[in-house]
């Protein structure tokens, strides 16, 4: 694979970078808020993957204009539409997780997982 090809796939590199960043945060961070941030970054990378996939080379926005040339190429609108739904799902998960964190903080007074583990052992 030549350098040009590698650089030409830059959208995928961004996706992979974001995905691994998010994954690392989810695994490595003990703070619950940061875990959720990591999860969100992970999800965002997937959204990007879909949306860049829908772009067709030289394609324009998929809106039919009366004055358009007959052989015009449109981008694929479906991935963007799917991602609208997936973003809603992601927000639902985030909202629920944040609500849980609020309750956990009320109960334990901390959102650090290792401290919660210690508190659990003591009780």
């Amino acid at each position: 694979m030549s350098t040009e090809q590698v650089l030409g796939l830059y959208n995928y590199w961004i996706v992979i970078f974001l995905m691994m960043t998010g994954f690392y945060i989810v695994i490595a961070r003990k703070n619950m808020i940061k875990t959720i941030i990591g999860l969100n970054i992970f999800q965002t990378s997937v959204f990007l993957l879909y949306i860049t996939m829908g772009k067709v080379r030289d394609g324009e926005a998929p809106i039919i204009r009366p004055d358009a040339e007959p052989d015009v190429i449109y981008s694929n609108p479906l991935p963007s539409v799917l991602m609208l739904t997936a973003i809603v799902v992601g927000i639902a998960t985030t909202a629920l997780a944040l609500a849980l964190i609020v309750r956990i903080r009320e109960d334990y007074g901390t959102v650090e997982e290792d401290k919660i583990l210690i508190l659990d052992r003591e009780s």
Partner: protein, 495 residues
Amino acid sequence: MNNLIPLLVVIPMGVAFAIPLAVRMNPRLGELLSILTALTLLVISLFLPSQEIIYHIGNWPTPDGIDLRVDGLSKLMLLIISGLALVVGIYSVGFIRQFTGHYRYYTLLMLMVTGMNGVVLSGDLFNLYIFVEIATIASYALVAFGGEHEDLEASFKYAVLGGLSSSVILIGIALVYGMTGTLNLTHLASRLDGHVLTPTLQFALALLFCGFGLKSALVPFHTWLPDAYPAAPAPISAILSGITSKAIGLYVLVRLLFNVFGITDDLLLLLRWSGGITMVVGALLALGQWNIKRLFAYSSVSQVGLIVLAFGFGTTAGIVGAIFHLVNHAVFKPLLFLNSGAIEIAAGTRDLRKMHGLRSTIPVTATTHMVGSLSIAGIPPFNGFWSKLIIVVAAVNAGFMGWASLVVLMSIVTLAYQLKVQTAAFFGSNTRSPEVTPSIATGSRSNAEPLFMAVPMIILAIGCGALSLLTLTGLDEPFFVASAAEVLMKGVFTW
């Protein structure tokens, strides 16, 4: 009749959002509405024909529009979902009063049913993902419903792992869509049929396997389950283990492998090994547990492993055995979890070491629990025996002697940990636990197993016996399980 198919999704969703409004008029309407809904769904699914129907939403033809598909397998799943929702709904009337905000509980329960029905009916990959998410997000909230420390922690862990697995599934779907240009299951199957999977599609399949494997708690993706099931209220543990993890995990996995991607020898090998390892690890971990609900949770892991293993034999008998065991597990495991709710109220603890001689306090539970234990351990004449028999015979006929003996061995381990529960909880005299103060009731019978809780347990216990009668039509094809197995054996969907 076909026009009723979308109602299976629409009714529970509508009721879910109607409940918060209805309880303003009368607080009891929440329970009533959910029980009635479950009953309606059960009737509709009973009258669905068993042959394949594709319902085109808005009359759009197949690759353009959204399809709902009903066949033998989805009909069977729909029956289990609505049946269990009904039983759990009745039980909840007696059980959930100890919590505040009942109506939220029923709303979430109905949303979970919506999600599961949607998954089972969905004819395209992306809608399937959305319904999986509806069901899982509702289940995160239900796991935390008790509001205790450990409930919140378990739910958070479940939400993070579930969120990761959903994203992994989404990447898998993206790759499949990018490679084939379609999301419709039938269309997808026809495009993949006869082609060797490209490396990208193999990777996509691996991602989907891992994602749905986590939802169905296959080892090594099972770590959320032993926290989540014990944290949930007993009726929710019952429905989660009975059907949710199967409808949104196992069902999708099997559907994709057998009907869309097309099963190969390598995939069967993968199913056998992941199922076998899950079965052994789950059973051995269950053996060492003293928390009654955690023990049952590990037992669920083990039983799901057995089902996956049986699917992995790839023969008709293996698939019939797997589906039959799935049905049976949806009867005896909810029974055990519902019993654990009554035991918890009567003993005031989940720790088996601290409870003793509950037989006199909760006689109904003691009896139904005996039935459930014998059934899950595979003792005749209960249903668990027949499905395990079919699986073992299938393994021997397919030439997997090692797996057959492992299944028998794990049955003995299952019997061992069930006997542990029996001896610890029910036998002996009721004198050894003075230091435990029961949380709700002082061990009085009327409080520990009111009518609303006893009836569902009795129904499920009768089910354990009655399902054995399905084998009357012959061990090869127990009634209506056969039509579900046939769908899988037919291979990929034809266009």
